[in-house]
């Protein structure tokens, strides 16, 4: 992971980039790449595709930043670019893809939710992490792009409904209904993962 940098205001960094200081954009790349990586990876389920797409996303943002006027936050603008490019990429890729799993951070073993789902009253089968990861990714890939993106942003990235609705340009009600439907579908896909 990149070293921790002092939190600089995005607007300042954007203004510096627009004024011709490329190092300001580097700071934005460092700041946003882990978050956007997660967004794109959970949409594509493939590390190589994610890497290429993330490069394209930042390249596009850099080329377009002169047109950014701050009507929305840089965070929203950047995520909108990432979402649109990811969906366009997935439409082009179609069904030709293979799952490639990223490493799972060892801290997962200490996560309360991991302990809950593996040792609770109705534990998920104590499978190895790789299998759990693969099953989840397979289930995610069965969702439509619209459902997958809301699940990624809400459940995985922990974004609030209001932020998701701004990024996707849809109402909060639509975000909630897509989430509900997506959870129902995932429940069906993951049912066999349950202990009998």
């Amino acid at each position: 992971m990149p070293e921790e940098r002092p939190l600089t205001d995005d607007a300042q960094l954007v203004a510096r980039t627009q004024a011709g200081d490329p190092s300001a954009f580097d700071e934005l790349v460092v700041k946003y790449s882990p978050r956007l990586y997660s967004l794109v990876y959970n949409m594509t389920s493939n590390h190589e595709d994610t890497n290429d797409l993330l490069q394209d996303i930042f390249a596009k943002a850099y080329r377009s930043i002169q047109g950014f006027r701050g009507k929305s936050s840089f965070y929203t603008w950047m995520h909108s670019i990432a979402v649109n490019m990811s969906i366009n990429f997935l439409k082009k890729r179609g069904r030709r893809f293979s799952l490639s799993l990223d490493d799972v951070d060892a801290n997962i073993q200490n996560d309360k939710e991991f302990i809950d789902v593996t040792t609770g009253t109705n534990p998920v089968r104590e499978a190895d992490l790789g299998e759990l990861q693969q099953r989840l990714n397979e289930a995610m890939m069965k969702l439509s792009y619209e459902h997958r993106i809301v699940v990624t942003m809400f459940d995985i990235q922990g974004m609030p409904h209001a932020e998701i609705s701004k990024i996707l340009g849809i109402s909060e009600g639509t975000v909630r209904s897509r989430l509900f439907y997506a959870h129902r579908q995932l429940q069906n896909y993951l049912e066999e993962f349950r202990i009998k």
Binding site: M1, P2, D26, V29, V30, S33, P34, Y37, S38, Y41, N42, N51, L54, Q55, F58, A59, K60, Y62, R63, S64, I65, Q66, G67, F68, R69, K71, S72, W77, S80, I81, N84, L101, D102, D103, V104, D105, I108, D111, E113, F114, D116, V117, N122, V124, L132, Q133, L136, V151, D155, I156, Q157, K166, G169, H183, L186, Q187, L190, E191, F193, R194
Partner: protein, 137 residues
Amino acid sequence: MLDESDIQKLLRLKRYEQPSPQYFDKFLQDFHRRQRVELLRQPVWKIAMERIEAFFSEHSMGRYAYATATAMVLFFAGITSFNILNSGSQVVAVTANAPQQSLPIKPQIAKASLPDAQHPRYVIDTRPASYERSFSF
């Protein structure tokens, strides 16, 4: 059956799926390399299109708004071009209807603008070609 909160817990675990720690350090270097390569091959019109797209995406318009805006632009462009064409044909009509004396147009130009049917035709030989003997001397 897994309930909704189980699903949410499982999904939250996906936060731990991350590339190796060195990945993000290398990412910035790769990005710089890519930018340099791109500078050499990106056409200017493509950059301009991306900037326009980015400008409109900031206004968070829906796809119908884009379609409506495009339709309006096409509509007004159509009206404008129709008006221009119409005014052009009116000028031609005025020119054609005006009396000949009042137009200070050079004869060559006036001839050039006449349709084919009105061009003077010259008959070079009045006798048709024939293989029969001619009786005239």
